[in-house]
Symmetry: C2
DNA sequence: AAACGAACCGAAAAGGTTTTCTGCGATCGT
DNA sequence: ACGATCGCAGAAAACCTTTTCGGTTCGTTT
């Protein structure tokens, strides 16, 4: 049980004036000394720096931004309740910013447009220097508009407005990668169990798969099966598939969860994986992929790299360059036992 | 492909001076009018407010904090790579702060102590008014120390230092809840498949289970089985268990993933769930729980509530009250088909 | 010796807001 | 009618840092 005590946290943090006094110079000189400006004698600079260290002086960023007009903060607006996507993206962004002097304000709009509007305003009130908006899926989303005083980069879910700058994973090439891998591991009768057809990601991945097969002079062994993103769908679809096309030897599933369901169904039907059928998923979601039987080959969307790039684009935009358009980023395949060549 | 354009984002935001000018008063009066101070004529106040709205004035928080000494920001430091825990906690905290005027800086230390130290310093440089530290598990972690100028609240993973303030889920009562639910659904021969015994969470949950059974005049039908937190362990443990104690009619698993493995094993052994054996997990991890067969009863750790409370404690601490000790918060059981009474 | 330039330092303004204190006109009490 | 009080508005200081610009002290040049 917690017990409220009395307690003070007063502790005036050292100011530049203190440093100056200790070093026996004016604040102006102290400032110049610490900021590497010239016009200050090396010896004096040394004295100032020592003084600063001694009283562990840290410049007050409020005072700095008051002058400079920039706060060194960016707002990261997510809509991803589960955190599957936004957290790695955030980490990538933080990485890219971290080296520089930028800090990240985070808030979650929970997919609600008016809450989002509210958070945008809150960030603007805080005078952030820019925004990163993370969507909950890869479908285009409404733009925040162009009347914002700072640049915006959309990550994962692109803006509907093509003059905005968006960074998304390349789902078409992800589909290609999947199909090529199936072919490369010696399979020829390949089926595709997709997700919810209303999602662009589902359609893009399908497009990639179909294209890659065509390029290799073949095609899907059965019509694309659309459904939901769940394990349950993976199971039903797989059962139906094996009934209709028993000779199938490769199943590409549009998500790890679908693949997981597919694996379960195959096991129950006594179909050995990867010997008779190879299975492959998308997202490389550690929790789903690692524990599946056998471990699942999956396409990793490189979220962290996505975040890093979004951060870089934002930084560039903040210093004048403006980017526009949807930038599609490469993904990578992580091979595991479920598609091992036999 | 993105194409860099030229582009400017200049746009001087309105200042209080502008408002004052427009309303024909001094900045002092304008300030008082907007902040609800008295000493200003109602009519004047009205004029000022209208002016402020007209040019959509927003006070500059840098200027405000320069005076007030508080920035209205808190630092949230996570260590949870997966985001399973920290994101809901963050959302709860944001909720609790949101109404007030607090914004959240987020950063991830990735479980690395020196990176953490670095982020703490960065937050202090930003003059945050407080910290929330989110652990990666419920084991006590090193304190950030007491020489910080602002209060700290530890969430999920408590501080080793009992004079710090920590908020954690009550894993003992979680264990009790699990056992009681098993009993309440008519099972008597109950086993416990736990996780990694080096985790406090595993031991606490065990303690609760054992205590609740004892209170009901019974005990575990087999010694606690410790292993890892994975599905694989859930499967092996369950198989071993059924071999040694075929009459078991309830399996409490210390995590959803273990439970998931257990369900798989049972299905493969042809043991009907929930008819012959009930299965229960911990964490209520949507992705794992929803798609399992049958849907898994689980103990929800109430992360969001944890985050909210942490935020409240922090706010209280920031205004002088000081809390100390580890505060254990109630959890709740979410009943699903895997433990349905037969 | 006078003038000049270089090197270095400090005073002051600026950035936007809040708060205190002073000032002023009007109202009140007697 | 006079001082006291009240209601309201504005001037100025304070918060902390950066930057510009003027000033001082040297050493150097003619």
């Amino acid at each position: 049980m917690a017990a409220p005590n009395s307690g003070r946290y007063a502790r005036r943090t050292a100011t530049l004036r203190d440093v100056a006094a200790l070093a026996g110079v004016s604040v102006a000189t102290a400032s110049k000394a610490l900021n590497g400006r010239d016009q200050v004698h090396p010896e004096t600079r040394e004295r100032v720096i020592e003084a600063a260290i001694k009283i562990s002086f840290r410049p007050n960023p409020m005072a700095q931004s008051l002058i400079g007009g920039r706060t060194g903060t960016v707002g990261l607006l997510t809509n991803d309740l589960v955190g599957r996507f936004s957290l790695p993206i955030l980490m990538g962004a933080e990485d890219a910013f971290g080296a520089g002097r930028l800090s990240v304000f985070l808030s979650d709009a929970r997919g609600d447009a008016i809450r989002e509007q509210h958070h945008v305003q809150a960030f603007l009130d805080r005078r952030v220097d820019g925004f990163i908006v993370v969507g909950s899926d890869t479908d285009p989303r409404p733009s925040l508009g162009h009347d914002l005083p700072v640049p915006v980069v959309y990550a994962y879910g692109p803006s509907e407005d093509p003059t905005d700058s968006s960074i998304v994973p390349d789902n078409v090439s992800a589909g290609e990668l999947a199909a090529e891998h199936m072919l490369a591991t010696g399979r020829r009768r390949i089926a595709l169990v997709s997700g919810d057809r209303t999602f662009l990601a589902a359609r893009d991945r399908t497009e990639g798969v179909v294209a890659a097969l065509a390029a290799a002079g073949t095609e899907l062994v059965a019509p694309v099966m659309y459904g939901s993103w769940s394990e349950g769908w993976g199971r039903t679809a797989t059962r139906a598939l094996l009934e209709r096309v028993p000779e199938v030897d490769g199943i590409i599933c549009a998500s790890d969860q679908i693949a997981r369901g597919s694996l379960d169904a195959l096991r129950e039907l006594g179909v050995p994986v990867p010997e008779r059928v190879g299975v492959l998923g998308f997202d490389n979601w550690e929790a789903v992929v690692a524990d599946s039987r056998p471990p699942l080959t999956s396409i990793d969307m490189n979220f962290e790299a996505l975040g890093r790039l979004a951060a870089q684009r934002l930084v560039a935009a903040m210093s004048g360059e403006r980017f526009s358009g949807v930038e599609k980023r490469p993904v990578r395949l992580v091979a595991r036992a479920s598609t091992a060549r036999v």
